[in-house]
Amino acid sequence: MAKQISVFLENKAGRLAHVTRVLGDAQVNIRALSIADTSDFGILRLIVNDPDKAYRILKEQGFTVSQTEVIAVLLPDRPGSLASVLERMAEENINIEYLYAFLGTKDGDALIIFKVEDMERAKEAFDKQGIRFIDEKSLYEL
């Protein structure tokens, strides 16, 4: 399990720049991010080195922000490895709300952030497949 910071953003010029500047000034380092957007608004999802601090700072600055529990797993960075995990989850009927991925870890692994409806069942499924979770500390320190 890992803490993800989610921020509500209006579709207006400069909003994303503002969030990242606020975090930068507070010495919060972004590890991964994704943006979900509609025509009116966006949701910025962040993995950072210090989620509690990021949450506090953003709230102080008046952003609508929440902390969400997500699953972070490491997969071998080679063709087909994400597919086989997703196929397994489909077999187990685990519904994925969203996911995003990033590379660049030192061991040549890919890090995948999952948000699923049923976290416990997802974890069991990952365990059965021998997929490595990354613990919070090493995730924030990546």
Partner: protein, 430 residues
């Protein structure tokens, strides 16, 4: 509690007599001292001696905002400047400001009606009253201030702005009663939450709110969040300032200070006086004002008069909580929409803050109403689907509640201009 038992609970017949004699006096005075009134009355073919009953009022011509503009700044004064002790004015956002002038007696009467309003809201000599309406040319701050001093309460003339400091004052000085705009009461609540202070360390018990229309649901919101009683006060610069009408503990309409003001309800289009109980435009005639007497001033505020006796014992008639001003009313594809209706509907949706703005555009010759609603911590989800569901829910509620289809846009908190004074609810780009 009643401030002035003799006046506020005067038997109806006596009150009618008092009103009639004061009305006659006022009409004679404006006819002899204000050329603009004399011209209007001559044109309508009516003389002061034609007014013999309260019902004769309807023969007199109206006074409108335009008359204030045409006679700017002092053309409507009925006394020489040597008798004027105070001048206040409106912000003048729609052109020249509206001027209010007061003699010493006018100031005294204004303090009197505000003392009644504050007492109705629970003020006593033991109260600590924090006034966050603006001090200065705006009538809110000084109006409440003089009323509070008249009662003998301790007044904190905080004026508007600096919300963090307002909360500190409220906490440290033991404010028991707050006077401000209803939207600012909620801004202060957000600041109180941010402050991390404990509610039990406050002595805050009630609030007198006014200077902008607010709904019954807004009252519930303020009362449940702050855990106080919230009372409405009505007035406007032209009339005297706040205090023309105010609520009692029954919270069922605002008692008009009928010994100082006479009210009628007219059809805003035809100008005809409406039968008792119908809603229409409030028209006010002042009965005691010296510097700037008003005969049949069209307030453009929409309400109705309630004459049934009130459980509090006051005999003065009540006006229903103001629904909105006829100039705040938006006509969207032929449907009348008031900001207060939007507020009322939003407050019924769990988690939604009454922070909203209406933006009206004309797209391909069709009116389009966009309702911008702030996303709060409570309603925020990091899943697009859930936010879209929220948007759809708000849209559905507004569509059916207003009877016109709207576009809902979720916006960031505090992106809608917050009111230190009055909330700006409408942007009309048509």
């Amino acid at each position: 509690m009643i401030w002035n038992q003799a006046m506020e609970c005067m038997p109806r017949e006596e009150l009618d007599q008092l009103q009639l004699s004061r009305l006659k006096e006022t009409v004679s005075r404006v006819y002899s001292s204000v050329p603009a009134y004399r011209a209007k009355m001559d044109e309508a073919g009516i003389k002061p001696q034609d007014i013999n009953t309260l019902a004769d009022l309807k023969y007199l011509p109206f006074l409108t905002k335009q008359d204030f503009r045409d006679n700017y700044p002092f053309g409507l004064l009925a006394v020489p400047m040597r008798d004027v002790v105070r001048i206040q004015s409106s912000s003048g956002t729609t052109g020249k400001p509206t001027v209010a002038a007061y003699t010493r007696n006018d100031i005294e009467n204004w303090a009197e009606v505000m003392a009644r309003a504050l007492t109705g809201a629970g003020a006593t000599p033991d109260s600590v009253i924090q006034v966050t309406w603006g001090y200065g040319l705006f009538t809110g701050g000084l109006g409440a201030h003089y009323g509070a001093e008249k009662i003998g309460a301790a007044v904190l003339p905080a004026s508007g702005g600096n919300t963090r400091r307002q909360i500190m004052l409220m906490h440290d000085y033991g404010t028991t009663l707050l006077g401000c705009t209803p939207s600012y009461a909620l801004v202060m609540y957000e600041e109180f939450l941010r402050s991390g202070l404990n509610r039990s360390e406050f002595r805050f018990k009630s609030g007198l709110f006014g200077a902008e229309p607010w709904s019954e649901n807004m009252r519930k919101e303020i009362e449940s969040k702050w855990e106080i009683d919230a009372y409405d006060v009505y007035g406007m610069t032209e009339l005297i300032g706040p205090g023309v009408a105010s609520e009692c503990a029954c919270k069922n309409g605002l008692h008009l200070a009928e010994d100082h003001f006479l009210a009628e309800i007219i059809d805003p289009d035809s100008g005809e006086v409406l039968p008792y109980g119908e809603r229409g435009e409030l028209v006010i005639t002042s009965l005691t004002k010296e510097a700037l007497p008003l005969v049949r001033y069209r307030t453009r505020d929409l309400t109705r008069i309630l004459r049934e006796p009130c459980a509090c014992g006051r005999t003065h008639a009540r006006i229903e909580k103001i629904l909105g001003r006829s100039d705040d009313m938006l006509i969207i594809r032929g449907v009348n929409v008031f900001p207060s209706m939007v507020e009322s509907i939003l407050l019924q949706i769990p988690g939604i803050e009454p922070q909203y703005q209406l933006v009206v555009d004309r797209v391909n010759n069709l009116d389009r109403l966009e309702v911008q609603v702030e996303v709060s911590e409570k309603t925020f989800s990091d899943e697009v689907r859930r936010l879209e569901e929220l948007e759809a829910r708000i849209t559905r509620e507004l569509d059916s509640g207003l009877g016109v289809s709207v576009k809902v846009r979720l916006v960031e908190p505090r992106s809608i201009a917050r009111s230190e004074g009055k909330a700006k609810r409408i942007i009309d780009n048509r």
